[in-house]
Amino acid sequence: MSQDAIRELTEQRYKYGFVTEIEADQAPPGLSEEIIRLISAKKGEPEFLLQWRLKAYRHWLTMVEPRWAAVKYAPIDYQKIVYYSAPRPKKQLGSLDEVDPELKRAFEKLGIPLAEQARLAGVAVDAVFDSVSVATTYKGKLAEKGIVFCSFSEAVKDHPDLVERWLGSVVPAGDNFFAALNSAVFSDGSFVYVPRGVRCPMELSTYFRINAENTGQFERTLIVADEGSYVSYLEGCTAPMRDENQLHAAVVELVALPGAEIKYSTVQNWYPGDAEGRGGIFNFVTKRAKAMERAKISWTQVETGSAITWKYPSCILQGDDSVGEFYSVALANHRQQADTGTKMIHIGKRTRSTIVSKGISAGRGQNTYRGLVRMQKGATGARNHSQCDSLLIGDECGAHTFPYIEVKNPTGQVEHEATTSRIAEDQLFYCRQRGLSEEDAVSMIVNGFARRVLKELPMEFAVEAQKLLGMSLEGSVG
């Protein structure tokens, strides 16, 4: 996709510029059945969805907040959160000069084009291009193929049958504490349906998304790839994202029907808090995919932001010959804490999975890989290979690895490897001797360490993600 096209696409947002009657359309803080009914009514949802939310809420009430992750945070008061507030436009700035210089510096380092910088920073750019036609072309292209790509709310209105059929089919309403909370109160999110045999012609990205901005803290994504179809979905972006909501509890469900393939890439760079870790985002996400016969799921994530990251994108390899992949780079600098990994549940015969996890700890960051590989009784001939490497930068950080391996079938082949090391002095010395600054040297070595994961990202993303890793480590050496 050319830069022009990107720029064009990014304009359309202002077309839908939230000019509706939304002032003060906000529920009082706290959570109750009334609030959930209010959310559902405000969104004009069908009865089944309301019942589903209520079921999730009632289940949530019986659950306790999990404490097993290797992360520490002050207790969350769930009655202080505002669970419904209608989308409102962010404060718009007159020009790029008004943008926080720190943010601008970040944009420049990441190599984000000017127009896009403006969009990301919330500058009101004159619409040079006819955004309506861009959006239409874009939507038209997808519609031609029968692909549905819209906000979750739109999907509920336009495709209730699809939503009813697949919602909660991978992450049930009462799955875990945060997923249940999300199910009860989710605000919006994305919905994708790719029909049978269709190969989605472009990378679907929230970056270029027509709708579903300001989805708030309880985002819900559902992607269904029908038989033999293919879709690549990008979530997040490398630019630093700030948000007034500290708790983010999203749910992502992927369904890959027989022969389908879903590639889901994430770059997460939420506000990590200041150097002391104050004010950063809590990112507690449930991501899970179900793969039917011969289907393939590939999760790729670059996690550099948030004060706390707690997520385990997982694959239920239900169909015979299905494939699951997990590629992850997680970076914890300053006071950041990341507890992330994956679950590969092998149910079908000859299912295969690959796990490549690269954890980088710097400053006083704590980075944990936590993962499960389970070969169920019927998973004859299943295979898994896991590689979990940790890199330590500085002597006050921590790197932890907690893999769980459960094998109930003798034909299963499971291999697990993990290493922990630090950047070797001789590597640094070599780079310095060649005239690189220490920071550039560290950045280069870290990118080499993460290369196997970064190369799984779509190209534009990969370039930015590399720069992002280097930037996120600034100030961690020397």
Partner: protein, 433 residues
């Protein structure tokens, strides 16, 4: 409360009397801790793969003093060569023990006697192994009747392994025994200790062995677990290593219905070396659970774990290895490997090789594999005229043999025989040999 907890609680209400104040305090703390902790269930993270429901359903009575006759001694595996301390139901049996061959200055004997005669020598060590909030350590502390003590002075070098024999002989109903051992090695000691666990009937053997290594000592501990088929075995091993020490634990687990071996090592001096190896062979409905916790508290420590499991029938193998590298424990080099061979459709394996690293200049790794016999290797042997079951036995032995070969030579032949006999179709190997 489960039946086992109720029956154990009754035993806790009638504590053993006598002994110095620190021993009484240890018992009291143990009783309080167990009342609070109770028997672990699979809801406890550290026990999630090993269910003690079968144990919880038992009405346990503290194992009464017993005296195995010659026939029983044979059934229990016979008496190993001297020097040996034989404990039956947790109490030293002087007639079966034989202390010849101990070097001058060394003490070997009953824990009760040592507590009476040399409390000062025991106080800094007894009950100080790193088992915090552990239900079985608490239970043992509260209810041990006696135990084995081995005190080795600075520079002592044992010419032959010291054998610590722990037998549990249940009476009519299910019994609970609490074998305990304390080994304190001074500076520069060279020693090999062989611990043997066996028994008859239905019982719980909840043992605790504490080992203290003075600076520059080298100690090897072999652990041979051949408990009765109905037994529940929980064996705890706590090792604290001084600077420049080398410790190796080599565990061979063959028996019991449910067996858990838990080793905790504190590398409390610079430049220590710690090795924990294990071989487990389980069939039927056996559960063999191994938990190794290595705490690198000081710089320049090296630790290695290698565990291999052979699982047949509906057996379940569990391995948890946890390496903790504390802040400041620079230049740590830690490695863990767990490999498992599944021989049947219904055998299962659960493994958790875990690393917790809080220092940066370290080298840590772990690896694990689970698989079955290599079909190509089987085919090769069969094409050379070896029948299928012998070929399977040969390949299985080839997998396990590495662990046997690592044992000290005084026990190697014996363990080779025992392991071969436990392997499926192992009899064919013996015939062929």
């Amino acid at each position: 409360m489960s039946r086992a907890e109720e029956s154990l609680a009754r035993a806790l209400d009638a504590p053993a009397a006598g002994g110095p104040a620190f021993a009484a305090a240890l018992r009291r703390a143990g009783a309080d801790d167990f009342r609070r902790l109770k028997l672990p269930t699979t809801r406890h993270e550290e026990w999630r793969y090993t269910s003690l429901a079968g144990l919880a359903a038992l009405e346990l009575a503290p194992a009464a003093p017993a005296r195995p006759d010659a026939a029983a001694v044979e059934r229990l595996g016979g008496l190993p060569p001297a020097p040996r301390l034989v404990l039956v139901n947790g109490r030293l049996d002087a007639a079966l023990s034989d202390l010849s061959g101990l070097p001058a200055g060394a003490f070997a004997g009953s824990l009760t006697a040592a507590l009476r005669e040399r409390p000062a020598a025991l106080e800094p060590f007894l009950g100080r192994a790193p088992f915090r909030d552990h239900a079985f350590a608490a239970l043992n502390a509260a209810l041990f009747e006696d135990g084995a003590v081995l005190l080795l002075p600075d520079g002592a070098a044992l010419p032959a392994p010291v054998q610590l024999v722990h037998w549990t002989v249940a009476g009519a109903g299910p019994a609970a025994a609490f074998p305990r051992a304390l080994v304190v090695a001074g500076r520069g000691v060279r020693a090999t200790v062989v611990e043997r666990f066996a028994g008859e009937g239905s019982y719980l053997a909840a043992g605790l062995t504490e080992l203290w290594l003075g600076d520059e000592s080298r100690v090897e501990l072999v652990r041979l677990q051949r408990e009765a088929p109905e037994a529940f075995h929980v064996g705890l091993l706590g090792v604290t290593q001084g600077a420049g020490t080398r410790f190796a634990a080599r565990s061979v687990a063959l028996g019991a219905r449910v067996a858990r071996f838990e080793a905790r090592a504190l590398l409390d001096g610079e430049g220590t070396e710690n090795l924990v190896d294990g071989l487990y062979v389980a069939g039927g409905a056996q559960v063999h659970d191994h938990f190794v916790h290595v705490d690198h508290a000081r710089p320049r420590g090296t630790s290695r774990e290698l565990f291999k499991g052979v699982l047949d029938g509906q057996a379940r193998g569990v391995f948890t290895g946890r390496v903790l590298v504390r802040p400041g424990a620079q230049k740590t080099d830690a490695g863990q490997v767990s490999s498992n061979l599944l021989l049947s459709e219904d055998a299962t394996v659960d493994a958790r090789p875990q690393l917790e690293i809080l220092a940066d200049d370290v080298k840590c790794s772990h690896g694990g594999t689970v698989g079955q016999l290599d079909e190509e290797a089987l085919f090769y042997l069969r094409s050379r005229g070896v029948d299928r079951s012998t070929a399977r036995a040969m390949l299985t032995w080839a997998f396990a043999a590495e662990m046997v070969e690592r044992l000290p030579e005084q026990v190697r032949a014996e363990v080779r025989r025992l392991v071969t006999a436990r392997l499926p179709d192992g009899g064919r190997l013996l015939e062929a040999a």
